[in-house]
């Protein structure tokens, strides 16, 4: 019980990252190695903000006085359910809103993509476990995809992730993982577009994405913290040309980010979980140098106990 409550909090990172708009950061992350027990449910929401002023046009860092600071605010809802002690299902959907502080370009808002994933504990040896996660995402609305301030890219995805997770009895934890995301082509509202060449089509090829991360920290029942570094890169795509518009859906994107996640359980509020995350993009290509902050609240329910009580 103590163990899985940590996982609840950590799971919120998943929402944080999957909600991020592509021009700010990308990737969907199911980070933790801990499972909800059978018939346990956890739900909550997360407030998040990504913002950047500088971005990389290809490999050249610049700002843009006609955009100023670009900001994405979002709220995500998520749910996690233990099908069994070794198999969890996780779902989330965010609502996001974008804006630019300078110039005349309108921001966008709307529900982004629904992500559903299954997490399976493949192996457990003492303090070490190996987990496999598979899932996918689909857009939940017909939001605009080809736009510098788009809230998403309309691509349907399927992803697989392998994770090695260590947690010892003293609370020290370390996790290494690798993930591959398949992404489908998209249709845009135009008859031609330019990548590294002109294309006479409304269909845009969207490159697959690879993600690697390492995280380490310390868990106790009441309070915990974890630092991480991750790199995400598209396996294809093209550079933004000098002074061209961003095309987040189809650009070649690389981002190396560091971050820290802290969480706390508030005892008087039935162990309501509070999670806070900060992250910063150290280096990148065709992405914003984003600073991300998030604050989430989660509650866990043990439906198994309730069911047992009622049946009595």
């Amino acid at each position: 019980m103590k163990k899985y409550t940590h996982s609840i909090i950590k799971r919120m990172l998943f929402i944080l990252l999957c909600a991020s708009m592509p021009s700010f950061s990308f990737s969907q992350t199911l980070n933790d190695g801990i499972f909800m027990p059978k018939n346990n449910f956890c739900g909550g929401f997360l407030l998040m903000q990504d913002k950047f002023e500088n971005y990389w046009e290809g490999t050249t860092q610049r700002n843009n006085l006609n955009m100023g600071t670009m900001t994405m605010n979002g709220i995500g809802v998520m749910a996690n359910y233990g099908i069994s002690d070794n198999l969890n299902v996780i779902a989330s959907v965010p609502f996001v809103k974008t804006q630019a502080s300078a110039g005349v370009m309108a921001g966008m808002s709307g529900f982004q993509d629904l992500t559903v994933a299954l997490k399976y504990k493949a192996l457990k040896m003492n303090d070490l476990s190996a987990n496999i996660i598979v899932g996918g995402s689909i857009p939940t609305s017909d939001y605009v995809a080809a736009y510098p301030l788009a809230i998403g890219n309309q691509s349907k995805t399927a992803f697989g992730r392998a994770m090695l997770h260590y947690l010892n009895s003293k609370g020290f934890t370390a996790t290494a993982q690798g993930m591959y995301t398949l992404r489908s082509n998209i249709k845009i509202d135009a008859t031609n577009y330019y990548t590294d060449k002109n294309v006479f089509s409304d269909e845009v090829a969207i490159a697959d994405v690879a993600n690697f991360s390492f995280r380490t920290g310390y868990y106790t029942h009441r309070i915990a913290g974890e630092a991480y570094i991750e790199q995400t890169k598209t396996l294809g795509g093209f550079d933004i040309r000098r002074n061209d518009m961003m095309f987040p859906a189809a650009n070649k994107m690389i981002a190396t980010r560091v971050g820290f996640t802290g969480f706390y359980r508030i005892k008087p509020l039935h162990d309501l979980q509070v999670v806070a995350n900060v992250a910063y993009t150290l280096s990148g290509r065709n992405v914003g140098q984003a600073t991300s902050v998030a604050l989430g609240f989660m509650m866990a329910f043990d439906w198994r106990k309730k069911a047992v009580t009622e049946s009595k």
């Binding site: 309108a106 996918g136 269909e203 040309r241 061209d244």
Partner: protein, 526 residues
């Protein structure tokens, strides 16, 4: 254990379903035009030798060698070479033949639209100053050209006119010498492109290739290597295909050069070089007394406020003197200029600003789709290119002769260039504000063009193109008019034009389209 197995099974079934669902998944993109079949012309338009060209005149004599007779030893040698080439077609040549046989005029139009998209990028400022692309130093930053809509319209026009005029000149020689195609001389020769009864000297593909190359290399000078390769393929593909001899091609090449020289003589003296202006001229535009301006020789109150750049740092207006470029269908832009808009304080205008704020604050997804579909901004073929794409989409299935396609595209692109001329004249005469100049709350979902609002360029281009294409394709009239209306109103949804900019722009364009129709009725074609 059984439960665990069930879980595993469930898990992998889900994984498989998600994967298959997501990825019916092939990242290859099928482009428009990639499936065009070889052009098979039913009506070869032998009368084209008498059609009226655009720049060259009846007095222009092009000295092209008299062709050898088909029974001469020289021709027989050429014929043998053609047969050898045909028998030894390489895979690369087969692909070149497949590509170009769809029609050289259509393929060059496509190539040019791709080049416009590639070069349609505004320069970035350096320490507050925007560098001007220089034809004299095209490889340096900023790249030359910046193929914005007026530049693009003019480019499409000169290339299309060169192709049409060169083909008319070629038809004169074809009809004069009547030398048949190799497969007509030698019945044992089966070409790998559709046969035609059209005489083959000079080769129309060679004449199109060279005329195009000699014009387009001036418009996109950094692309010289790419264009040289494309022109060589276009010239030679019918030789490899068994449908043209070396002397057919050589004659086409010479004629193409000679005609292109006439076209370029016009292009070099059409005032384009003055269209950019300089700081003093930009200042004089912005600093005109705003309460009285001379319009059509009369002192008139036409504006109480002036357009200003909303870019940071402020960017000079795009080609503000393009209105002085030499037009095709009118003597000077003042002759077709639309009336001045009301003053910015007029209730009518203030109401339209409010209206636009309401529209842009409550955009539907459908309105966004229209705005983005017709945006044709940075990195695209521009609105004139979009209308060329629409025209090619209609023309390709009609399997018209090359000369007819060239003539239709020439008139379309002359109209689009004239639309740019009148629109830029109107913009810089009245210097009318953009919606966000009026009301800072108005946001845009397309790039805010850096020049005055009245009248809308998209509306003018679209009015001209739809009007002229409706003349060529009467059964498509209502569809074309709907497209033009969408393109026009898209600029209101985009938040960058008031209603009056769009409505008057559409009318202005329709007027130009009618001038193109008037010309089409007298060029001996229809």
């Amino acid at each position: 254990m059984k439960k665990l197995n069930n879980n595993i099974t469930y898990f992998f079934i889900c994984a498989a379903v998600i994967t298959v669902f997501t990825l019916g998944c092939n990242k290859d993109i099928t482009e428009v035009g990639s499936d065009w079949q070889a052009l098979s012309v039913t009506k070869i338009d032998t009368t084209a030798s008498n059609w009226k060209p655009c720049v060259i005149t009846a007095n222009d004599v092009f000295n092209i060698a008299v062709p050898d007779a088909t029974n001469s030893a020289a021709y027989q040698k050429e014929l043998a070479d053609v047969k050898t080439a045909l028998a030894n077609q390489t895979a690369a040549q087969k692909e070149i033949i497949r590509y170009w046989s769809a029609g050289a005029v259509l393929r060059w139009n496509e190539i040019m639209r791709a080049l416009v998209a590639k070069y349609n990028l505004p320069p970035q400022d350096s320490a507050g100053v925007y560098p001007i692309p220089s034809a004299a130093n095209p490889f340096a930053y900023p790249q030359f050209p910046f193929s914005n809509p007026p530049y693009a319209a003019r480019s499409y026009a000169y290339v299309s006119v060169a192709q049409y005029d060169a083909l008319v000149a070629a038809y004169k020689l074809k009809m004069q010498y009547k030398r048949p195609a190799p497969y007509k001389v030698d019945a044992g020769l089966t070409p790998s492109v559709p046969k035609t009864d059209l005489p083959s000297y000079p080769s129309e593909d060679a004449v199109i290739a060279t005329a195009t190359f000699e014009v387009i290399k001036n418009l996109f000078p950094t692309e010289i290597d790419f264009l040289t390769k494309k022109a060589e393929e276009c010239r030679r593909y019918k030789y490899w295909a068994g449908a043209a001899t070396a002397s057919d091609i050589a004659a086409g090449d010479s004629l193409g050069k000679a005609v292109a020289a006439k076209i370029m003589a016009r292009a070099r003296t059409d005032n384009m070089s003055l269209a950019v202006g300089n700081q003093a001229k930009w200042d004089s535009l912005a600093n005109r007394p705003t309460f009285a301006r001379t319009v059509n020789g009369k002192e008139t109150l036409i504006a109480d406020r002036s357009w200003y750049s909303e870019e940071t740092p402020k960017r000079p207006p795009m080609l503000p003197f393009f209105g002085n470029v030499k037009a095709w269908f009118f003597a000077k832009a003042a002759d077709v200029r639309m009336p001045a808009p009301p003053l910015s304080t007029a209730p009518e205008i203030q109401d339209q600003v409010k209206e636009l704020y309401e529209i842009t604050s409550n955009l539907t997804r459908e309105q966004m789709q229209i705005a983005l579909f017709w945006a044709d901004g940075v990195g695209t073929q521009t609105p004139p290119g979009h209308w060329n794409a629409i025209a090619c989409g209609y023309f390709q299935p009609l399997q018209m002769s090359e000369v007819r396609t060239a003539r239709n595209l020439a008139l379309l692109n002359m109209a689009l260039m004239d639309a740019a001329i009148t629109c830029w004249d109107i913009k810089n005469t009245y210097y009318f504000l953009r919606p966000s100049n009026f009301d800072k709350r108005i946001k845009t979902i397309t790039g805010l063009p850096n020049f005055p609002g009245y009248t809308s360029g998209h509306s003018t281009f679209s009015g001209a193109a739809a009007t002229f294409l409706s003349y060529l394709l009467p059964s498509e009239k209502s569809k074309l008019e709907d497209m033009a209306k969408d393109a026009s109103v898209s600029r209101q949804y985009g938040g960058i034009h008031l209603r009056i900019d769009c409505e008057v722009g559409l009318q202005s364009g329709q007027k130009i389209g009618q001038l193109a129709i008037d010309r089409a009725k007298t060029d001996g074609v229809d």
